[in-house]
């Protein structure tokens, strides 16, 4: 068996008549952090939504290990172990922190002991959530909500964790905490596909990266390579 967790081959996704993804190919190996960077509207979220089954590709294939998962509905893709932490957190606002985390473990219903253990792990990573465990999700701050959204993802015991813009709208201090956690999760063995606008942060933690431009992959390479690529520096890191 190869150690490629996810392979996306020549995927095309449409919104009505508009072709949002024009033949994307990428792969994620076991134990990697791979990042997908690009401008607004480049198709980063569309790529994640296509992998997770929220959108269905018109052509191309998506494989988890050796199993084709493209075309499956979202809850079945989740059941296979591909777990997406969506853009904008999307926590359940009228549920408590604990209930939100339990929802993350929705498919592990026969594994009460394992769920408890995972919850302990989430509380270790984010002690703030433990303090607020009985508080409603909607009353948390933006940073806490992002922690909760990530915690919910961890609760699913993913084979591949996909994070969509985890730094969006957060204070720099909080962004740092989030990225530290991403690295920590990865060191503990979680394979991560990370979509980010904050290219500098993303490339500094990622093993490899892809640069998306209007629905196609423009560049790919090691994280450090891309970080020092002139074109990337100009376009995404704001250097002139």
């Amino acid at each position: 068996m190869s150690n490629t967790v996810l392979s996306v081959e020549n995927v095309h996704t449409f919104y009505g008549q508009i072709e949002a993804l024009k033949g994307i190919s990428l792969y994620v190996d076991s134990g990697e952090i791979v990042t997908l960077i690009g401008a607004n509207g480049a198709g980063k979220s569309t790529t994640l939504n296509t992998i997770s089954g929220l959108l269905s590709p018109k052509a191309g294939s998506i494989k988890l290990f050796d199993e084709v998962i493209s075309g499956l509905p979202v809850h079945k893709v989740t059941a296979k172990g591909v777990v997406q932490v969506p853009e904008g957190r999307r926590i359940f606002p009228r549920m408590t922190v604990e209930e939100n985390l339990n929802m993350g473990a929705f498919l592990r219903n026969k594994d009460a002991a394992g769920i408890k253990e995972s919850m302990g792990r989430v509380f270790d990573l984010f002690p703030r959530l433990k303090e607020r465990r009985t508080q409603k999700g909607g009353t948390l701050s933006g940073g806490e909500q992002q922690m909760l959204a990530m915690g919910r993802g961890i609760m699913a015991k993913p084979k591949l964790l996909m994070l969509d813009e985890p730094s969006m709208g957060l204070a720099p201090v909080v962004v740092e905490t989030i990225f530290e956690t991403i690295e920590k999760l990865n060191q503990e063995g979680t394979t991560i596909l990370l979509v980010e606008q904050n290219a500098a942060m993303a490339l500094s933690v990622a093993h490899r990266g892809y640069v998306l431009e209007v629905g196609s992959i423009a560049l790919e390479g090691l994280g450090t390579e891309l970080l020092h690529n002139e074109q990337v520096r100009k376009t995404y890191l704001g250097e002139s």
Binding site: T78, F92, M95, F106, L107
Partner: protein
Amino acid sequence: MSLSYLLEQTLNGVTLGGLYALLALGYTLVYGILLMINFAHSELFMLGGYVGLGVLKLLSDPATVKATGLGFLEPIQAFFMSGTVGFVALLVATFGISAIVVGILGMVIERFAYRPLRHAPRLAPLISAIGVSIFLQNAVLLWIDSKQLPYTRADGSAFVTAQTAFTIGTVHVSTMQVFIVVTSLVLLALLDTFVSKTRIGRAMRATSQDGEAAGLMGVNINSVIALAFFIGPALGAVAGVFNGMYYGSVKFNMGFVPGIKSFTAAVIGGIGNLRGAMLGGFLLGIIESLASGFVSNAYRDVIAFVVLILVLIFRPGGLLGEAVAEKV
């Protein structure tokens, strides 16, 4: 204006409120998940009354056996018509079968009339619901009867005789009232526990708060919606059978007024909120009864809707509804 009169009217109101609450839950469950008003719900309530009547006749009306030639039902009827055990079994069968049949019908309606329109503009499923409502009413009108059917055996005897269960002072409380109030409270408590404590109930709440995110947690949204379309109509059917027993008859258009009232109750309580629907149902029932008892029977509907307007003015989200900030 004696105290006992007040008590009597309140009691009537609580009974009516139980019916409204059961019915209001169907509106609120569906709205909470799909943001859609199921206008066919009042017809499912009506059908509940008809199915219940059919079951009662088949299981405990000897004349029905003779008329339909279903002779094998005779020994079964003998059981259901003998003593307390038979009577309780008869009630359980009536309510159970009516709830299950109508619940399944609710799921079928969702599958064929609403699901294909899930991604259409919000007006489309609403119109589809009105279509289903008109269809069901006319189907009953055409295939069953245009006149009201008495909720009795062919010889005119009631299936559940109205007895006085007990008296408070001079107020007589009938067994039927006790039965309706207790059953609706039990069903409401069961539903509340199911939704707040169980795993599937939690999935329902998650779906209503953010369907897409619930899908990402592995929840099969279609199953959750189908379940909501089973539970709501099943409770509505129970209310329909109660309605038939309490008022003594069923008619093809009997769903209209209770439907509007229960929808009002759901809005008063805060649509989408289960406890709100229960609270709104009982409140509206009591207010209506008091209004008809102390003001005038002709004004009961006026007062009910004035309450709705007042709630909408002062608490637009409903009594238990949360003020939801507009998402940007």
